[in-house]
């Protein structure tokens, strides 16, 4: 296969390795070292996509991050990804790419009819068209926009690739390895600083790879290779190519996107595809260079119109000709080098220079080379639909508003240069307010906001001499601040062509009665006429113009369009650009993959899994687990083909009739010690704690300062100055922070220490009428009688030699105990309980049975203590002391909290005694009332009462006290149910609480 536009003797690609790839169903060949863009251009392919709004044919404009058009759907190793920039992705074996935003094909795209309807797609089109009628939004407008506006298609498959995160600290981060980046990294490294040098392209050197310069009698490329090879030997330097620093955040935190494996055809299973670096740098040098500005003219989006710098890069780096009959259209000297490069490769260019007859070093050189130059000339309109075929050019009048003459010349590409725009995105993200430099008609960084310094072309300095000098100087200064070393550098001697002034001219006028589109923002299809409309309709702020026209938005972030847009606004408004200002630059500078952001935190690695010491036993015994925060808890132990409901009924029933054990290790446990511990608890809980004797537990409720319940649990006095607090599983971490807050900030005078012991103790609850019998077998030497170990009693003992804590507390409402042993003995304890419990028909029970037991007893838990209830709402007002002060007490006196008809906890049973009531159902009087149907309360917890063998729920209802006996409807629009319910007491079983005391 012949690569029609490949040059033979130039470029940095590896011609020994041919790579075959697929584009829009056709096979092509390129070389290792190509980008997808350079390989396509080598095959003469310019047309790669259709534009966003008008579906106009689009080709390559740039050769790197500057590319706004060539976003392709790319498949490698079976993984498909949208919006890949063809100018940045390297060619690998098996790569397959397709154009986006076109149907049925990029060559024939039905959406292109939009181009002929373009008077219907002006600025503000989305705002104006899709406003009404409202009913059209869901079925007509949204699907239309989604289909038409999408760039690529996200894969529905799970991403099988591996992504990683890395955290790094360094003295100096240098972003960009052009001349200023290399010089500063080198100087800093010589001073012993820990340096990271980041380059987004595969090859280091930046413009040194393409500019015709010499440094210390070496070519730019050779010099950069020499510096890089020396840096590679230094242990204090990290060199990262294929790495884009895309975000500058607070406190000198930079985020970098590294393409680790994208370019490898055979990478190992553990080589990540991409890596995200969080880099905290003491100092940062922004040497991000500059991007060439286009000049705006008619149909300037036709494939074949490229930036002149890109045309040069395609020749010098990739050995690819973007055309054989080029027009160089420029307002400055730098594009002449592109003309020279064409000439060197036996292609005859013609230069159109908007400046009047001009004489500079480089113009003279062009004349000497016999290159045709037309001054005061520009391209008016590119002709050709899918590829440039000719151009209508014109000689500008003195005021540059019309033409003295026009003519049409043949060409197959137009290389355009509107001078240079410093890449100031990172500086702006750092908080640096930019300033307008009139010399270069662009914004450059002003005073540093963070520890950042911008140098080289990014700072508006466009001569190599200046750039290299400032690189060495800045690198040396910043690093010696940190390392205290001051290595003397010999600044190399530089030869380069001196550039003369550019023409302040960026938009070609149109001849009378001609109206081709002149695009400012290619990616968003924003034309000069759109900006004119926005201004005509009264938008003045540049931020408003941006949003109304979409200028400078999306993945492109205005890289090529920003300044031309501003220039346009300022021309129309008769303002100067700095008065218009610029829009905000936002991270990421270039698009990054979602996979990289997520990193390794997927699937099981999404968050840590906490397992109790008995977890393996649960697994072996058919436990079905449920997530409780990070914990895995057995929800039920499945026997045969049991359903969740059947299993939980069996387990709960067995607790009520015999005895069951439940793994309660996950409950939060806090060890509290110190002479003021009793006083502290007395302030934290709503009830009285000063007189709790050693060896006794007490149930307590703690509030937030606003009076809402924060958490509940039992706390046991282990010894005089030592307490053991339990919290709910969910609130464990918050309660500890809460206690620390009061001890460290509010009452530092209290001599108390708190520490979490959740993971130090394994816990098992033994509940049911036979629990005492079982306990006596577990602790044969211990008196476990009701007198020796009464309700809320506490004893320390040993379980077959293992120290154990025994609490007589109950969550199930049955006679119950909780045994704690050191975590390592958790499994031992559990297995002993299973073994000894056999004769009492002991069965393990999970969280579902646990909930059933507590709900039918009317015990509150998380669903009732949801941060919106005060003690009396959940009938815990008996625990609120009137005598002493405590956290949140003052709030309880609030008017709304003391209203007679305040919400209150109640019980619910369905009148049919059959239908389960979905949790979250709303309670209403009339199920058929028109919306909004007045809500009287909500269902907080539901279960199947094993005691009464029918559904039972807890609910929080307005004026709950007076609602007992009434009938309401529990409606759940989510489950599409409406159930008539009867309101009863929340204590459905054993309302006197006899069992726990038996």
């Amino acid at each position: 296969m012949r690569q029609s536009h490949r040059l033979n003797n130039i470029g940095l690609i590896n011609r020994d390795k041919v790579i075959t790839f697929n584009f829009n169903g056709k096979l092509y060949q390129g070389y290792e070292g190509d980008t997808l863009a350079s390989a396509l251009l080598a095959n003469g392919v310019h047309l790669v996509g259709r534009s966003f709004k008008y579906h106009r044919p689009r080709g390559f404009i740039g050769a790197g991050v500057d590319e706004p058009n060539a976003k392709l759907q790319v498949t490698i190793n079976g993984h498909s990804e949208p919006n890949i920039n063809a100018t940045e992705i390297e060619l690998v074996d098996g790569l397959s790419a397709t154009s986006q935003n076109c149907w049925p094909s990029v060559e024939f795209d039905i959406g292109a009819i939009n181009n002929f309807l373009k008077r219907f797609f002006p600025a503000g089109f989305y705002y104006k068209t899709f406003m009404w009628p409202k009913s059209f939004w869901y079925k007509v407008y949204e699907p239309f926009i989604r289909k038409a506006a999408g760039l690529g298609v996200a894969s529905l498959e799970r991403d099988k690739e591996r992504y990683e995160h890395k955290f790094e600290y360094c003295d100096l981060l240098v972003t960009g390895s052009g001349p200023s980046g290399l010089a500063s990294a080198y100087a800093a490294a010589k001073n012993g600083a820990k340096v990271i040098l980041a380059e987004d392209k595969p090859r280091y050197g930046g413009t040194l790879l393409t500019d015709d310069v010499s440094i210390d009698n070496m070519s730019g490329k050779d010099w950069s290779e020499k510096i890089i090879s020396e840096l590679k030997t230094m242990p204090n330097v990290t060199l990262k190519n294929r790495s884009q620093v895309f975000g500058y955040y607070d406190h000198n935190m930079m985020v970098m996107f590294e393409r680790v494996g994208d370019h490898l055809s055979n990478k190992s299973k553990y080589t990540p595809r991409q890596r995200l670096w969080y880099i905290r740098a003491k100092e940062t040098i922004l040497s991000t260079g500059s991007i060439e500005r286009p000049i705006v003219f008619g149909n300037n989006d036709t494939p074949g119109v490229v930036l002149s710098s890109a045309a040069k890069e395609y020749m010098k780096v990739y050995g690819v000709l973007v055309g054989r009959k080029p027009i160089i259209f420029t307002n400055n000297d730098s594009a002449y080098e592109t003309a020279f490069e064409f000439k060197k490769n036996n292609v005859e260019p013609i230069i159109l220079d908007t400046r009047e007859e001009h004489d500079s070093e480089i113009v003279q050189e062009a004349k000497n080379k016999g290159i045709q130059i037309k001054f005061s000339y520009g391209v008016i309109v590119a002709n050709g639909y899918k590829k440039v075929k000719s151009a209508k050019i014109g000689k500008l009048t003195k005021d540059k508003k019309s033409f003295e003459s026009t003519e049409t010349i043949n060409c197959d590409c137009i290389c355009v240069s509107g001078f240079w725009t410093p890449t100031v995105h990172l500086a702006s993200q750092s908080g640096n307010k930019l300033k307008f430099d009139e010399k270069i008609d662009a914004f450059i960084p002003d005073k540093s906001k963070q520890n950042e310094k911008t140098i080289g072309a990014a700072n508006g300095s466009f001569t190599l001499q200046e750039t290299i000098k400032s690189g060495f100087k800045t690198g040396s200064e910043l690093s010696s601040k940190i390392t205290d070393k001051n290595n003397e550098n010999k600044i190399p001697t530089v030869t380069e062509t001196k550039y003369s002034v550019h023409d302040k001219f960026w938009c070609m006028p149109l001849p009378k009665n001609e109206n081709p589109k002149r695009f400012v923002d290619f990616q968003n299809d924003v034309a000069v006429s759109d900006i004119e409309i926005a201004l005509r309709e009264g938008y003045r702020s540049i931020e408003h113009v941006k949003r109304y026209t979409t200028l400078g938005m999306a993945t492109d972030q205005g890289r090529t369009s920003n300044l031309n847009g501003l220039q346009m606004v300022s021309n129309i408004e008769n303002k100067i650009v700095p008065e218009v200002g610029h829009t905000t630059f936002r991270p990421p500078f270039t698009p990054i993959t979602i996979g990289t952001i997520v990193g390794r935190e997927v699937g099981m690695e999404f968050m840590p899994t906490r397992k109790t010491p008995m977890h393996e036993w649960h697994e072996k015994n058919n436990a079905v687990f449920v997530d409780a925060g990070a914990w895995k808890r057995p929800r039920y132990y499945k026997q045969g083909n049991e359903t969740l409901l059947e299993a939980s009924k069996r387990e709960a029933k067995n607790v009520r009739e015999n005895v069951g054990i439940c793994d309660v290790t996950t409950l939060g446990k806090i060890d509290i010690k110190g002479p003021d511990a009793a006083e502290f608890l007395n302030r934290v809980y709503t009830n009285a704690w000063l007189k709790l004797p050693v060896g006794k537990a007490r149930y307590g409720v703690m509030l937030r300062e606003d009076g809402m319940i924060m958490d509940d649990g039992t706390t046991t006095r282990i010894s005089e100055n030592h307490y053991h607090m339990t919290t709910t599983t969910a609130q464990a971490a918050n309660v500890l922070s809460h206690l620390e807050y009061y001890l460290q900030i509010v009452w530092p005078e209290l001599n108390v220490n708190v520490v979490s012991t959740t993971e130090q103790w394994a816990g098992a609850a033994i509940a049911g009428p036979k629990s005492r019998d079982m306990l006596s077998k577990l602790f044969p030497d211990l008196d476990v009688s009701n007198e020796a170990l009464p309700f809320m009693g506490y004893i320390e003992s040993n379980l077959f030699g293992v120290p154990a804590r025994i609490f007589r507390i109950s969550f199930s409402g049955e006679l119950a105990y909780e045994v704690n042993v050191e975590s390592n003995y958790g499994l031992f304890m559990w297995e002993k309980m299973m073994e000894i419990g056999k004769e009492f028909n002991n069965q393990p029970y999970g969280t579902e049975a646990l909930s059933t037991l507590r709900i039918e007893m009317g015990h509150v838990a998380g669903p009732e203590l949801d941060g919106r209830t005060i003690p009396q709402d959940v009938s815990l007002d008996g625990l609120v002391s009137k005598k002493k002060d405590f956290i949140g007490k003052n709030s309880l006196g609030k008017e709304a909290f003391t209203l007679e008809n305040r919400q209150k906890i109640v019980g619910l049973v369905p009148t049919d005694r059959k239908s389960s009531i979905p949790e979250g159902s709303h309670l209403v009087e009339n199920e058929k009332a028109k919306l909004p149907n007045l809500k009287l309360g909500h269902v907080s917890s539901s279960c199947w009462s094993v005691e009464n063998n029918n559904p039972f729920s807890l609910a929080i209802v307005n004026d709950g006290k007076n609602m007992i006996g009434k009938k309401l409807f529990a409606v759940s629009p989510l489950k599409n149910t409406s159930i008539e319910v009867e309101i009863i007491s929340s204590h459905y079983v054993d309302p006197e609480g006899k069992r726990v005391r038996s």
């Binding site: 606003d706 620390e740 460290q744 900030i745 709030s891």
Partner: protein, 89 residues
């Protein structure tokens, strides 16, 4: 992401800390009569200044100490951090 100087542990990433609100709010003394207005001010009323502000941070994934941070709420610049027992002036 902020870089916060814990007075006990040194410079650490923001990930390790939890924000704790305005450090200049004083809780009314316990066991003392407090007016409704004073109490409501304490519970609900917070200033939201633009600029220098002293706030609480909790080193939850570190030493578990609460401490004070003087930070610019607009620029995120941190001027000073201090133990609870120390004053920031």
């Amino acid at each position: 992401m902020l870089h916060i100087n814990c007075p006990f542990c040194g410079l650490r990433a923001q990930k390790e800390f939890a924000y704790g609100g305005d450090a200049t709010v004083k809780r009314p003394e316990i066991n003392k009569e407090v007016s409704k207005e004073e109490w409501d001010n304490f519970v609900y009323m917070r200033k939201s200044p633009r600029g220098k502000h002293i706030e609480l941070w909790h080193h939850i994934s570190g030493c578990r100490q609460w401490f004070k941070v003087q930070r610019d709420t607009a620029t995120h610049e941190i001027f000073k951090t201090a133990k609870m027992s120390e004053e920031i002036v």
